[in-house]
């Protein structure tokens, strides 16, 4: 049978009609519609039951309690633990995205010695060798002193003649001056903000990730209801605290000393007004209110993303506090009992002579601790070794550095003492909610292995933790707060204490009954110079949790780049008028230089910026250069810096 064109057409026609009467087109249409709604490359969450567990945030020293939502694939959400003694049911913004930190692309997965990847065991042996060789010129930098692992560091350092040091955070700066003047040990004073009627912050970021977020937030909320405490902020730029304060006084840069001297009555109002640029009326009004709106207290410290006030100014602030009766008074600066069972408090790294260390072991496990790279490097002698125990690859590392991979948020056993500025000590611990990656060493494990390599005999982490728990129970002070049941219990039975703590409870010490304290303030020098007035100043502020050597939480991009709620890294924000005066246009690449360093960025104009101010984004990548330019490594360099800007 010959097949012609007509037959072929017939066959095709039949096939077409049959096709239309078959399910092929209709089913494919339906299936492809479903397919397009569920692209295979769109990530799919893992199904499974959801549970809630209590854990401990270790991103800064405050040690807030967190409630973690766990699915079959791990922690997928973070919520505050209600009424937690330090968190108080409130957390910092970055914590809500911190459960993604373990998967950060910069996660460190291998130990590195002199730029080469090595086995962790080898790296620890190398650290032990160098630590042994450095002898008294070795130091261990403990970012959060007072933990169980701090005792291990203390033991190791002392056995080998070295020291343990810590970083002075913004909360430390005023308190340590007061402790020096009062002849008290480090960590023995705290702020009793809760009972204060008026809080004057001299450049302190009290409303921007200060201390524990929960505490300041509760105060802030209460203020709306009761009108107390009143926040007055005096600083040289429109920081977030200045924006939020009930009253903000914008000073000429560097004139904090004149303000404090005038408030203490050591400098006449008129010249002080002239130096600070404030009106005489507002100065005398504030001086009056500090005395009449009792209890009042004054907090210094400077910005977290830059340096503190000069030591001389801090001494004036301490003396002013004594003069207005804030020292030892409820609602002022109060004494707190040292944490039971904690080792000797370490000394501050910035007080260690420059270039005096051959080895510095830095436990960089907290993103919320500001650790200026330049400060660490400056303490090291030429060819000194910086050992870093970190979960992440730092932005920069030197040829002699040793890097050891560590744990991060909710991984591994950790314990925490409360915030530095708290009126009472707290303590909590957690065994971790996420599994520890094979390559990572939790700080306690690192310390134990280092001790072993050095043949220093130390107790195990568990033994030390049990010993501290026993000491706390034996002291019969304070109470234990359990989130699970939301109840308080006395800490009298070790077994019950440990059971509660394992569930994420927090132990809270009893406050010390406020009583008069003395401080030597006669020697305080009240002379306040007349600072030069730069035409441009650089300021840097950012949410805490992104200024350490650790990278920022991935979702932090929502806060800066994506919503512009905070200064954007790599941008120099300025008023359009300032930009015009400097002959700059938005998007121009510029180089901002200060006496301490320089940083690059792109111009962004914003009518809300204060003329004459260059706002630098100190968050995430590149923040170490901003910190350096802001003089964060130079104690007392002040919260703002004179700046110059040019196109690059």
């Amino acid at each position: 049978m010959a097949i012609g064109r007509r037959e072929l057409l017939g066959l095709a026609g039949g096939a077409a009609v049959g096709g239309a009467l078959s399910p092929v087109p209709w089913k494919l249409l339906d299936d492809s519609a479903i397919w397009t709604q569920n692209w295979s490359w769109t990530p799919t969450p893992v199904r499974g039951p959801v549970t809630e567990k209590f854990g401990l945030c270790t991103l800064c020293a405050a040690g807030c309690g967190v409630k973690a939502r766990c699915g079959s694939a791990g922690v997928f959400g973070v919520a505050p633990a209600a009424e937690h003694a330090t968190g108080g049911g409130a957390l910092c913004p970055v914590v809500y995205g911190a459960h993604q930190l373990p998967y950060h692309p910069r996660r460190l997965r291998t130990a590195i010695v002199n730029g080469h990847a090595v086995e962790t065991k080898e790296a620890i042996a190398e650290v032990a060798r160098r630590l042994e060789a450095a002898g008294a010129k070795a130091a261990i930098l403990d970012e959060r002193p007072g933990r169980i692992v701090s005792a291990l560091y203390d033991r190791i350092a002392r056995a080998k003649g070295g020291t343990v040091v810590t970083l002075a955070q913004v909360e430390d700066r005023s308190l340590r001056t007061m402790e020096d003047l009062a002849g008290m040990g480090p960590g023995t004073l705290g702020y009793d903000f809760e009972h204060a009627a008026l809080i004057l912050s001299v450049g302190a970021p009290l409303l921007d990730s200060w201390g524990s977020t929960g505490r300041m937030s509760r105060l802030w909320s209460r203020r709306v209801e009761t009108g107390k405490p009143v926040f007055v902020h005096a600083g040289s730029h429109w920081s977030r605290t200045a924006q939020l304060a009930d009253r903000a006084l914008i000073l000429r840069p560097g004139s904090e000393a004149a303000l404090v001297a005038a408030l203490a009555g050591k400098l006449a109002i008129e010249p002080a007004a002239e130096i600070t640029g404030l009106s005489p009326a507002s100065l005398s009004d504030l001086a009056l209110r500090l005395r009449e709106q009792a209890p009042a207290l004054v907090v210094g410290g400077g910005e977290a993303a830059s340096s503190g006030l000069p030591e001389a100014t801090e001494r004036m602030i301490a003396a002013l506090n004594v003069a207005i009766g804030a020292l030892g008074r409820a609602g002022g600066i109060v004494m707190r009992r040292p944490l039971t069972g904690a080792p000797q408090p370490p000394q501050y790294l910035d007080r260690v002579p420059d270039h005096s260390l051959d080895l510095l072991v830095h436990e960089a496990s907290s993103a919320g601790i500001v650790a200026p790279e330049a400060l660490l490097r400056r303490k090291l002698a030429a060819k000194g070794t910086l050992v870093r125990l970190s979960a992440f690859l730092p932005e920069a590392f030197g040829p002699n550095d040793v890097l050891i991979p560590s744990t991060t948020f909710l991984e591994g056993a950790e314990d925490a003492r409360g915030a530095r500025d708290a009126a009472v000590e707290t303590w909590s611990y957690s065994d971790g909610l996420s599994s520890v990656p094979a390559s990572a060493l939790p700080p306690a494990e690192f310390a134990a292995q280092l001790a072993e390599a050095l043949q220093v005999k130390v107790e195990s982490y568990e033994e030390l933790r049990k010993a501290r728990a026993a000491a706390i129970v034996a002291a019969k002070r304070g109470h234990v707060y359990r989130h699970a049941g939301g109840e308080r219990a006395e800490a009298t039975d070790l077994e019950k204490f440990e059971a509660a703590m394992a569930e994420g409870a927090v132990w809270v010490d009893e406050p010390v009954e406020p009583g008069p304290l003395r401080a030597k303030i006669d020697a305080v020098d009240w002379s306040a110079g007349r600072p030069e007035q730069p035409s441009l100043i650089a300021v840097a502020s950012s949410p805490r949790g992104s200024l350490s050597v650790l990278p920022a939480v991935p979702l932090a991009s929502k806060l800066d780049r994506e919503t512009r709620l905070y200064a954007v890294p790599g941008e120099v924000r300025m008023n359009p008028r300032t930009a015009r005066e400097l002959n700059l246009r938005p998007g121009d690449s510029v180089l901002v230089s200060t006496p301490f360093g320089e940083t690059r960025g792109r111009v962004r104009c914003d009518a809300a910026a204060i003329p004459g101010q260059l706002e630098l984004g100190a968050c995430g990548d590149g923040s170490q250069l901003v910190l350096e330019a802001m003089g964060a490594a130079e104690p007392g360099a002040g919260p703002t810096q004179a700046a110059q800007i040019r196109r690059s």
């Binding site: 490359w41 990530p43 709306v224 806060l559 780049r561 919503t563």
Partner: protein
């Protein structure tokens, strides 16, 4: 909203009152929202114009001399009730106002990506997925199992944490009720100063009814938003009427 729809329970009108005097602009709500709703961290190309933020916090500067200098304005979908602009314009019926919850529901599966709703929304509360959602390798493990990530080419917005409403509904169903009651969206839970009150406008005894005098942003449009604000500062009330600060002449072209 079909007429035959049987409402086996009293409909709720979920809404919020945000106390602007309590907001410190910390951004905890923004991050908690993104984590809860499986919004990916911003890719390098994402900025304030093309990123996905179901909830934003705007910084407002006081143009007058009285009151605080700065305020922060958290803004998510306002769940407009009257002639909801996005519902009206959607050619796909991908947006609807749910009668049982009062929530404006966005259906990514139906959305064809025309972005008409984004133009229509007076609050810029909608985001468009310019790219496929992607997380760094391994970070998919942190996705919320109760929320489906949205695909490229669709619009998304705040739905008052629908997954939490679902969970509340499941819990209620065990006890024989269909009413999810007052649950807690992620932003409300995260706010460290408790500036956001979530509740039901239909409940005369509820938290919203007790929140005192409130105002809506751009009340004059008449869309009756169910997210309302509260503040003791006059300049914020004035700004709410205009929708923002009138720029000063010199800054307009800056």
């Amino acid at each position: 909203m079909s007429a035959t729809q049987k409402t086996s329970r009293t409909p709720r009108r979920y809404g919020m009152v945000i106390d602007l005097d309590r907001c410190t602009g910390c951004g905890a709500c923004v991050i908690a929202c993104a984590a809860e709703n499986n919004v990916a961290p911003g890719a390098a190309r994402e900025n304030d114009r093309n990123s996905i933020s179901l909830l934003r916090v705007f910084t407002l500067n006081n143009p007058t001399a009285a009151g605080r200098r700065t305020a922060f304005l958290p803004m998510m979908c306002m769940q407009c009730e009257h002639e909801t602009p996005c519902v009206t314009v959607c050619p796909q019926q991908a947006v609807e106002l749910d009668v049982l919850s009062g929530i404006v529901e966005q259906m990514p599966q139906r959305c064809l990506g025309c972005r008409y709703c984004m133009t229509a929304c007076p609050y810029h509360a909608r985001s468009f997925n310019w790219g496929d959602p992607s997380w760094p390798a391994g970070m998919e493990a942190t996705l919320n199992p109760a929320v489906a990530p949205r695909m490229r080419g669709v619009v998304e917005k705040c739905d008052f944490c629908q997954s939490r409403l679902h969970a509340a509904q499941d819990a209620a169903a065990v006890n024989g009720s269909l009413d999810p009651g007052i649950y807690t969206p992620a932003c409300v839970e995260a706010c460290p100063t408790q500036a956001i009150t979530f509740g039901d406008w239909n409940d005369p005894e509820g938290a919203l009814a007790k929140s005192g005098e409130t105002f809506a942003w751009l009340e004059g449009l008449g869309t009756q938003p169910k997210v309302r604000y509260r503040s003791g500062q006059n300049w914020l009330h004035e700004m709410a009427e205009r929708g923002g600060a009138a720029p000063a002449k010199e800054e307009r072209h800056g």
